[in-house]
């Protein structure tokens, strides 16, 4: 009788040489999971409560491109050029027959606007005073130079921007003009420093009984 050779026995597969975790190791694993959980919650809490300081610098990074000048100079706001021609003050302005008074003083800034390359409009007009207070063009009067009026390239138009400001602000003002009405970030903005006036001059403007009529814009040579 011959013996048939048997194949060598297959060694038992060994999955791990480690002993199964004991009670101490199981406690350690649970502690690690707990630590991770607490860390995740802490990081989440920090993110949720994070408030950027000083605007996070975004306002500064996205600030408009200021083109500055003086009254009488032509200042570019990229899509239009602006030149302050004249500044007047008044206690009252006349609009369609009605005389409108003010708690401060009316400031009328006659400005020449010339679109540069394409039809455009002026969406934003404001005065900024020496204390950095910003006064938007008055909505009590019809502002014919703002919003709806379109300016054609190379055709200068002169008209008046009308503002109400406190008397103490009127001595030192800067006209700010831009194409966009609400958001001027990362766009060109013209800032034109007006002449300074002393307080007696402002008081004289405010006390003038005769209302100043707001002229309609006109094309100029």
């Amino acid at each position: 009788m011959t013996e048939t050779p048997q194949p060598p026995p297959v060694p038992e597969e060994v999955r791990s040489h480690r002993a199964p975790p004991g009670p101490v190791q199981r406690a350690g694993t649970k502690a690690s999971v707990g630590t991770l959980l607490i860390a995740a919650l802490a990081i989440g809490g920090l993110i949720a409560s994070w408030r950027p300081l000083g605007g996070g610098g975004t306002d500064d990074r996205e600030r408009p491109f200021i083109r500055a000048g003086q009254a009488g100079e032509t200042v570019s706001a990229r899509v239009f050029d602006a030149k302050v021609v004249d500044v007047r003050g008044a206690g009252k302005v006349r609009l369609r027959g009605a005389a409108l008074d003010t708690g401060g003083v009316w400031i009328l800034v006659r400005t020449r606007i010339t679109a540069t390359d394409e039809e455009t409009s002026v969406g934003y007009a404001a005065l900024r005073d020496a204390r950095d207070r910003v006064f938007l063009a008055s909505t009590r009067v019809e502002q014919e130079m703002i919003g709806g009026r379109s300016f054609q390239p190379s055709i200068p138009v002169e008209g008046v921007f009308v503002f109400e400001v406190p008397r103490d602000a009127a001595t030192n003002l800067t006209l700010v003009l831009a194409r966009q009405s609400i958001d001027q970030r990362m766009d060109a903005v013209a800032e034109i420093e007006l002449s300074t006036y002393d307080s007696p001059t402002i008081d004289k403007w405010a006390a003038t009984a005769e209302p100043v009529t707001i002229d309609e814009p006109q094309v100029v040579p």
């Binding site: 994070w50 408030r51 950027p52 300081l53 000083g54 605007g55 996070g56 975004t58 306002d59 009605a98 409108l100 008074d101 708690g103 401060g104 404001a126 204390r131 950095d132 207070r133 910003v134 006064f135 938007l136 008055s138 909505t139 009590r140 109400e164 400001v165 406190p166 602000a169």
Partner: protein, 167 residues
């Protein structure tokens, strides 16, 4: 678990300035009127309910959110939009010339009428509770831009309603 209570809103006084940002507010009076300049009631038999207040913008720029200054309670049947948590006035007019107010300029106090139409079927109010709101200038956690946010009550007062309707 302990329930958090709503913080109590500090009191304000009629005809005394309530200072804060972005407005200083002085509530002057509350009135019922049958006519109000060139304003027209939507429905015959209705009446106007108006709060008159002196507003001074304390923020450094002109503001167009005058309709956020107040909320009123205790007056039934007021008409108007309620897009958020307060019933905004239907009309905001300058007392000086009855012109519609869109913007108020910084440090230029103005006497303003905040006007709602009240249904003629609603009871005649004798008192109104007015809540004055505030905002805080801070960086938005959404956009990172500095904005006036956190529209919250800052003061509350009870004002008698004068019935000035024409007979």
């Amino acid at each position: 678990m302990e329930v958090a209570e709503k913080p109590e809103v500090p009191p304000a006084v009629v005809n005394e300035v309530n200072r804060g940002e972005p407005w200083n507010v002085t509530v002057v009076r509350a009135r019922l009127l049958s006519e109000l300049g060139d304003l027209r009631l939507e429905k015959e038999g209705d009446r106007w309910f108006a709060i008159v207040a002196d507003i001074e913008v304390t923020a450094p720029e002109s503001r167009n959110d005058v309709s956020d200054i107040f909320s009123v309670s205790g007056v039934e049947g007021l008409l108007g939009d309620k897009p958020q948590h307060i019933l905004k006035p239907q009309h905001i007019v300058a007392v000086r010339d009855a012109s519609r107010v869109q913007y108020l300029n910084p440090n230029m106090p103005e006497r303003i009428g905040f006007v709602w139409e009240q249904s003629g079927n609603a009871p005649i109010p004798t008192n109104v509770t007015i809540t004055i709101y505030k905002k805080t200038y801070r960086a938005s956690s959404l956009t990172d831009h500095m904005e006036w946010l956190d529209h919250e009550p800052r003061a509350q007062l009870e004002v008698p309603v004068e019935d000035k309707r024409s007979p």
